[in-house]
Amino acid sequence: MATHVLMEALSPTMEEGRIAAWLKQEGDAVQAGDVIAEVETDKAIMELQARGHGLLRRILVPAGASVEVGRLIAVIADASEDISSLVDAPRAAAPAPPPLAPATATPEAMVPDDRQRGGRTRASPLARRMARERGLDLATIPGTGPGGRIVKRDVDATSAPAMAVSAPAAPSSYVDVVPGQLRKTIAKRLVQSLGPIPHFFLTSEIDMEQAADARASLNQLGDTKISFNDIVIKVVAVALTQHRECNAWWTPDYVRYFTDVHIAMAVAIDEGLITPVIRYAQRKSIRAIAAESRELAERARARKLAPDEYTGGTFSISNLGMLDISQFTAVINPPEAAILAIGAITEQPVVQDGAITIRRRMRVTMSCDHRVIDGAMGARFLQTVKRMLENPLAIVW
Amino acid sequence: MNTAVTSPALDANRRDFYFHIYRQMLLIRRFEEKAGEAYAQGKIGGFCHLYIGQEAVAVGAIAALRPDDYVFASYREHAHALARGTAARAVMAELFGKVTGCSRGNGGSMHLFDAANRFLGGHAIVGGQIPIAAGAGFAIKCRGTDQVSTCFFGEAAVNIGSFHETLNMAALWKLPTIFLCENNRYGMGTALERSAAVYDIAHRACSYEMDAETVDGMDVLAVHEAMKRAVTRARTHKLPTLIEARTYRYMGHSMADPIHGHYRTKEELEEQKARDPIDQLEIRLIDAGLMTADEAQHIDADLQAQVQDALRFSDESPDPAPDDLYRHVYAD
């Protein structure tokens, strides 16, 4: 009995995939579970497993080509089977794995958690845990299990945020490059973001002397070296717990204010940009954040992040300081309501007590969605960030 | 084939031996009396089956064995453990459930074990130990050595399946096992004539072409001689024997059962007490000038002191620790 090899939905937001490489050739023997191809999705390179056994009789889509999710890309069958009907008229999927296309939330008054509803929400223990980890409200997820039970695929199917982007510079002489999946997604998202969201920008200049001293002495304490970025992540996370109005999502029907802070940190990779998320950053030690951010960045650069590792952020941070940018404005990552752009730390002449002195200074620029955050709200948040960086003990005050 | 055995004559050269078995029987008697008291005081729990009146059987039989022979018994086995050499302290502490007991408190009255003395239990299912004893005989035969295994069981056990299955195989395979039936006439409250189609237990051996003897279980020397014959048969000729020792227990089946009443009369009990095995030996020894009344009293005082010591030791010994709950479920 022939097995249809389909382009599978390998990430929550994937609509099409590019065959990066076939790992088996026509005629090879294949067992269920064997990895037969590498597929480039909108986020990462994923392995495609055979779901049947036999010989890989025909490859219908060559390496390098892209097809939409659900299309037939190859056929596995016994040597003697007649597969002409399959290859001559390639059909869209026979029963495919459950579709993981994004779905919009149901129109409900905002409820922080399902305990406030009358009656219990039926959900599998796994679905509950996943929803909790992703900051999703079970009450808003439609369940497709028996009796309306919410199960894993239902949680996977809810919308998840994509990554922040910054515009790349164009070369003067040119060469045409077909955008990879990641680049295509960035492009699409940019248009979706900068267009409809009413951005405004707040800049703050922060004195970094005490932060620099604190970092130096902390790095004497143990093996985990912490960077300025790790400190900024921690400070932003704690400040957001004091300014929850900036730790929010805008959706068509409600604004969701999060209790926990999940910081999406922008990581530059060869093909573009991706934002791994550090969850519960407000609770984690700087040490833990340092280790996690390093690990996530490494895996991001190797394109080995799982979808639930780059979705679900409540606030984004983008740092171009290491590339000598003194200040920039970043584009918000919807449905988040804000993003903080960090510039380089440089020595500047500063007036203090009537005299000029040289101090290390850093400029940060917050982009805010005016539908969620007003000028004063954003400013007060930035004030707290500034205060904590200029006086690090204020983090635990 | 039944052989009635008359009591052997005394031999002055064997005075030490007579003192030995006298001491053993009296120790058992004093021990069991105190165990009964301790049970009534709540220091011994569960079931407690006393051997009082039957001392001649365990002592007379075990005296004919070597240290490397195997002994198996039922749940009425305090006497057999003591006769085999287990210390009175270890037995009493086990009855009290203390960790210093011979089974570390895990066995209690019905599951005394002393592997060093080859006393292998202490079995509570009627007839359970019968095939097990034959199994030890099988092992001896496999190894080609000359030990014997002995199985003590009550007369009610001769009606259970394992008795028939075992005696058949022991005779068929010629195992060096001695099956010693301690016939005290009553199961819990059922007289043998009400439960056995064939009252003469030794007679059953002919079903298996097995040698058998009936012996007066109140006469320790008679028991001893019968056992010596069986031991020789097993050790030398690798043949099993069924011995029926007719004896009597003074107490109820267990401490929780009536001493007399529905199932036997007080008169019968008194009649049997007149044939007390310890008294009988004592009288014979004194009459033959091999023991004085003084010596007898001394011995008694000494043994009572031993039992008192065992009681005190058991009172003072600790219980097993809670962690011991999970020990010894599996061997390494």
Binding site: L126, G145 | S103, I132, A136, A139, I140, W173, Y330
Partner: protein
Amino acid sequence: MPTITYREALNHALREEMARDPSVFLMGEEVGVYQGAYKVSRGMLETFGESRVVDTPIAELGFTGIGVGAAMAGMRPVIEFMTWNFALLAIDQIVNSAAKMLYMSGGQVPMPMVFRGPGGAALQLGAQHSQAFDSWFAHIPGLKVVAPATPYDAKGLLKSAIRDNNPVVFLEGEMLYNVKGDVPDEEYTIPLGAADRKREGTDVTLVCHSKTVALSLKVADQLATEMGIAAEVLDLRTLRPLDVDAILSSVRKTHRGVVVEEGWPFCGIGAQVVDEIQRAAFDDLDAPILRVTQADVPMSYNKQLERLAKPQPQAVIEAVKRVTYRED
């Protein structure tokens, strides 16, 4: 590597262990002159002689007790029950003597012995000859219970069982004796207490043992081909002690479980497996764990009814569909 039958694998294991250790002997009905009721002990009387391959009368309680006594006196008996149905007659010695001797004696008397024979249903043998008592014995502390599914596992596990210093209940199957598989000539053992992943998968864990392993593997093939469901097949191999870690790590990966067992449903092995999973992996479950068992009836003689009573592939597929929420 040689391909041999399950029966031959057991024969080799017995021979190797008896050659290695003179205290090991085999005892049971028809094991010697008749060459074994199911030919597991073929040729062994000729090799080892009648003191080590012992034909018994029909007296399960008696010869099992004899095995117990021999173990107490330092031997390592292998007691064969012609089928496990007959072991009911000997259960007093297995449970009250063998399982408990070490504990009752405060650690003085270990019981190194193996009780083995075929269990569970075969083909139209009727109610009294078709019983799987796996959970009866797995219930008893002091016993170990093993149920190999393949020739490779059977040989390795029987050798370990014989070398184990505890009483081991070793469950074979008339329907397994002819199964063929690769078994190396070289010496090897398989430790008791270790499950074996017979097939890797990601969507659901099929927990099985003995005859249900082959069934589960076949079903897994069908699930993959027809429904794109990648089932993981976990062969328990030992029922007591249960390899709980293997079960949990598989279910944590697949989030769904179906236990496939050949005994009756009430208090069967699967009930224990389900309890272990729900206690320790509650938050990893996307669906309740389901069980496919024999029907809760004595086994009929009739061929059709017997087939209906045994765990069916379709029942396993239905269970998998329910736990994966597939309507198709």
